[in-house]
């Protein structure tokens, strides 16, 4: 039956798959309903009610749901993290992004004869840090190996890496899937973390039969993280990638920018019929510049491979590397691999063992910051909803700011709301980060307290927030300076109400003859008169009394 389904698919439906990502209802033939309940319906004539299986939720695409009933995707991710050290891994050349090409070079990273590598202590430190953060076992003794191949951006003709004894192995990472993709917790295994050096940058010019090489990047330290093939969908992969980014930023070992190339993810993906124990043929996907691209590439590849299976052409799936074409939104063959590459690994003779003492490891473990997973669980325990939790824990600076605010005693839910709504909107508009705002956590706590004890109204609070964010200052100072204290004396409010009523007899007439909506008009007038300081609750209560009185 699924074969007939696929025969009705026109090629351009694959582009429809991507529009499904926008999570809007498609008004074309197929309607997909995103919900937590157990049914998916589509209006194609050949389908009836489909019960949703326990397969992972994806972008609401029916094609993918269909496929995932028959096939399971097995996905592993290799992540390369460029470390934010001051020097390269094996020489003291400066490690700074964006320098003029071929200026950060020396005989060691250029691979000139006679030059010898010397490992940076910072690289070991960062390796241990990341290994611990990913819950790995550390190898107290590890070594470097030469991975040999020829390529124009590889000066030595080999890359110094770690082959069989990596610095860390056997870990895991816990993630929370965002609500819009189904929510829930997942744990993905980490096979290993190892240290290695980056190659230079190769630039291909369209004209001519030559390319250009910039060796500033050659020798920059990398940590490679290899995951277990535990990932099952594009959504899970994107979240794994995001969590890797979050962790390296939390730890301060890398700035984790996919655009800059300091975080690179390659996906290995195969599919197999559900129930089959053996893995299918593995395909590698490269050239992914964003987590969303990763997700779309995986969805595309699952569909491509399933199609071949369904057409009885599973043997057309070969071990190869494919590139993600962002423009065409599809994967394309780069080159078919002829068997596995033979890198002829052997231990790097120019570098001694890397030896870690237990004390060293323990001291690093003790200095680790609170990691994203721990933060999320702590915020959940404080009573925040998962949406708030995911937002606040996403950026380490925002989380730190939030922790400071509630550290000053502010109400947790209020603090979360301010950060997620008004402050987040301000940061987005002004293109700033939380570290740039002039509003200190102390003052935000003050603001929350002032509204809570009704010194000022919520509306006034929002107004002065803007100024506090832009110019700083204190809440108390601003209240005094602008005379913003809320009017909570019922006598005073009543006076203002009576005045407004007496000045608007026509509206009073209309209200009393049924136009109750005009209450808003009166409220507005009193607010105007009081310069916004009247306590809204009290105002409405007394206003209603007066409006409905027989007088």
């Amino acid at each position: 039956m699924s074969t007939t389904l696929f025969r009705t698919i026109q090629p351009n439906h694959f582009t429809l798959l991507t529009t499904a990502l926008l999570r809007t209802r498609r008004t074309s033939r197929h309607i997909s309903v995103r919900c937590q309940t157990s049914t998916t319906t589509q209006q194609s004539s050949s389908q009836q009610q489909q019960p949703r299986t326990s397969a992972p939720k994806n972008h609401g695409s029916n094609k993918l749901d269909e496929i995932l009933k028959d096939y399971e995707a097995v996905i592993g991710i290799e992540t390369h993290v460029q470390l934010s050290t001051s020097t390269k891994a094996f020489c003291s050349c400066p490690n700074s992004y964006g320098s003029h090409p071929n200026t950060s070079i020396c005989p060691v990273c250029m691979g000139l004869p006679g030059a010898l590598p010397v490992l940076s202590s910072k690289v070991v430190d960062f390796g241990v840090r990341l290994g611990l953060a990913l819950n790995c076992s550390l190898s107290l003794k590890s070594k470097f190996d030469r991975k040999q191949y020829f390529y124009p951006d590889l000066p030595k003709g080999y890359q110094i890496s770690q082959f069989d004894v990596p610095i860390a192995s056997g870990g895991y990472v816990d993630v929370d899937i965002p609500l819009e993709f189904g929510g829930g917790h997942r744990r993905f295994g980490i096979t290993r973390v190892h240290m290695e050096e980056d190659a230079g940058k190769l630039l291909h010019s369209d004209a001519g039969d030559y390319s250009q090489v910039d060796l500033n990047r050659a020798g920059v330290p990398l940590l490679e993280i290899v995951s277990e093939p535990d990932i099952r969908s594009g959504v899970e992969a994107a979240e794994y990638g995001s969590e890797m980014q979050r962790i390296v930023r939390y730890l301060g070992v890398s700035n984790g920018n996919m655009q800059e190339g300091s975080l690179r993810c390659d996906v290995n993906i195969s599919i197999r019929p559900i129930g089959q124990a053996e893995f299918g043929t593995k395909v590698e996907i490269k050239n992914l510049n964003a987590f969303s691209a990763m997700s779309r590439a995986i969805d595309y590849e699952i569909t491509r491979q399933a199609l071949l299976y369904n057409q009885g052409q599973a043997d057309q799936i070969v071990t190869e590397t494919r590139l993600w074409d962002e423009g065409a939104q599809k994967t394309v063959t780069m080159r078919k691999k002829e068997g596995l590459a033979d890198y002829r690994y052997f231990p790097e003779p120019d570098l001694p063992e890397v030896i870690l003492t237990q004390e060293y490891v323990d001291s690093i473990r003790a200095s680790l910051p609170e990691l994203p997973e721990a933060k999320r669980r702590r915020y959940e325990a404080m009573g925040l909803g998962i949406q708030d939790v995911l937002f606040l824990a996403n950026d380490v600076s925002v989380a730190e700011y939030f922790d400071e605010v509630i550290g000053k005693g502010a109400d947790v839910k209020s603090a979360a709301n301010w950060l997620m709504s008004d402050i987040a909107a301000y940061l987005k508009n002004e293109e700033l980060s939380i570290s740039d705002v002039k509003l200190t956590p102390q003052e935000l706590a003050e603001l929350i307290a002032a509204i809570k004890d009704e010194t000022i109204s919520g509306k006034i609070g929002k107004q002065i927030l803007f100024e506090l964010l832009a110019k700083g200052g204190t809440v108390q100072g601003m209240i005094k300076e602008k005379d913003l204290v809320q009017i909570t004396d019922p006598v005073e409010i009543e006076k203002m109400i009576m005045k407004v009523i007496s000045e608007s007899p026509k509206q009073l007439e209309q209200y009393r003859s049924g136009k109750t909506k005009l209450q808003g008009f009166f409220t507005g007038q009193v607010m105007k008169m009081s310069k916004g300081k009247a306590n809204p609750a009290l105002l409405n209560k007394i206003l209603l009394e007066k409006l409905n009185a027989k007088d």
Partner: protein, 143 residues
């Protein structure tokens, strides 16, 4: 030139095997966690009976050999591998595997940047350097 090929072959020699069958094809990696204080590691590319594919090896090492040279090399390489193979007869079951030959580790460098003073002569010595970049043949695929 032939010696280079030999070196390449030797480096792919079978290492310490603790009675564990290793695969005959490309590098296999078995990494077993400690159970009884001895970590079993086996990472051989070739068993005793098979030889490396000399022509393939020469290609990956970018060394060109004529068929005659390959034929000439093979027995010599076999001899070297067999010679090293004698090590397999040593009983090392009660010895903890060493990762490297020497015993000291360490020798780490501070993360303090230093500019190399003579970068100009490095760039000057590159035949195909054009002001900013190294000019190289257009190679699109890694090995």
């Amino acid at each position: 030139m032939a010696t280079r090929a030999l070196l390449a072959a030797v480096s792919a020699c079978p290492r310490r095997r603790m009675g564990i069958k290793s695969s005959t094809c490309s590098s296999s990696l078995q990494f077993q966690r400690q159970e009884s204080r001895i970590i079993a590691r086996s990472f051989s590319s070739y068993t005793n009976s098979s030889l490396p594919d000399i022509s393939r090896l020469a290609e990956t090492a970018r060394i060109s050999l004529t068929p005659a040279e390959i034929e000439e090399c093979e027995p010599k390489i076999r001899q070297v591998i067999d010679w090293f193979g004698q090590l397999q007869q040593v009983d090392v079951n009660c010895v903890e595997p060493a990762i490297r030959a020497e015993m000291e580790g360490g020798n780490l460098r501070e993360d303090a940047p230093q500019t190399f003073e003579n970068r100009d002569s490095i760039r000057a010595s590159i035949p195909s350097f054009d002001e900013t970049y190294l000019k190289v043949p257009k190679v699109l695929n890694k090995e």
